[in-house]
Symmetry: C2
Subunit: 221 residues, 2 copies
């Protein structure tokens, strides 16, 4: 959804693929559609419902021949049921694969958009996996939203990265032993070397699983 | 076709777009298909014809709702007529827009694949625009092919960039007053600051025109 997040995701799928030549790489049918109504606004009750647009995109990709779907936008997974209902191919959930990657790390801090946190999609999936979670408070969420907007506008400065690190460290101070980058804009500035705990990047986890499914090395869940 | 070239092209379309939020960005329907039969091999008479696969991809994008087509692979433009014949929407030619960007620069040196140079698509378009061209010799073409293969395999070292610069400079020594990066892998290592003459990157020119057409600022030719 965020334009750079899609490109970042594709680059990570390519990097995660073992290939000796072009033909070894996975084919990706991509509907890079930044015109989907704002997910965040809709979830906060203040904007057009993006569900029908997302469902139509899913159907278009299925019609074009896609064997499975991935969506490198965490917040949009609030509409996952509506998307899945529109197609017969599976949507591999970024939420589920990211939570799976958090097992045995202890309590995890979740950095995500306001809308994503309000729908509790991460909280529910973590609870189901018996993983404790630590959530940003209202002020921290407001800071996250300012930073995500800046990243979407092309900002990649060290200052933004360090402010993102501060929000992550606030969760560590509250007991988090790992941090989920639960918005695909976050890994565009926040890298694990900035933290004292593991960073679970939802983009990276989904890219690795996408490459593995496409190459036949991993079953679709 | 080269996986990184597609991602590089998309990133450049996004960068060339004036946008204040996600929704201002252009929608791109992308068939990222590294499995198209090798264009280079086919043009040299030693491989499966990629024309039918390219035509089918074009039809798929038209069916998915695309308003125009672009293909960030110069060599594949040897099959442009077959692609255009398969659809009713226009294919904006990377060759034509790149040659257009070379006017008033004097003679241009063309760095491209062996297959692309043998089909003379650049030479013909330059001749029609009354632009003199300087071509790499057999040894220089062999070096170019080694470098392009290395870039496709993920190589981005300074050594590769400097060897690419040497091939460019050999054209300058033969009279070129500008260099066309006529293969979308080349700008992944060769940048204008490495040269004493202007570099016309086919990727950059096509990305700028794509963003301008998508925003309505430029007519489709």
């Amino acid at each position: 959804m965020g334009p750079d997040a899609t490109v970042d995701f594709m680059a990570k799928v390519i990097a995660a693929t073992s290939a000796e030549n072009d033909q070894d790489h996975a084919r990706m049918l991509v509907d890079h559609n930044p015109k989907v109504p704002n997910r965040q606004a809709a979830l906060l009750g203040d904007g057009e419902d993006p569900g029908p647009a997302l469902a139509a995109m899913a159907r278009g990709l299925q019609d074009a021949g896609a064997g499975f779907l991935v969506m490198p936008c965490n917040t949009a997974h609030a509409f996952a049921d509506e998307i899945q209902a529109a197609v017969s191919i599976p949507l591999v959930s970024i939420i589920d694969v990211t939570v799976d990657a958090c097992r045995d790390k202890g309590a995890v801090g979740v950095l995500a958009t306001d809308g994503c946190l309000q729908t509790a999609i991460y909280q529910d999936a973590l609870a189901q996996a018996d993983i404790d979670c630590v959530l940003p408070n209202t002020g921290e969420i407001q800071e996250l939203m300012r930073l995500i907007s800046a990243i979407k506008a092309g900002e990649r400065s060290e200052a933004v990265a360090l402010r993102m690190r501060d929000v992550a460290n606030a969760q560590v101070a509250k007991g988090a032993r790992a941090i989920i980058a639960g918005c695909t804009e976050i890994p565009l500035v926040l890298t694990e070397d900035l933290l004292d705990v593991p960073l679970v990047s939802s983009t990276d986890v989904l890219a690795e699983i996408t490459a593995a499914i496409a190459s036949g090395a991993h079953p679709i869940q």
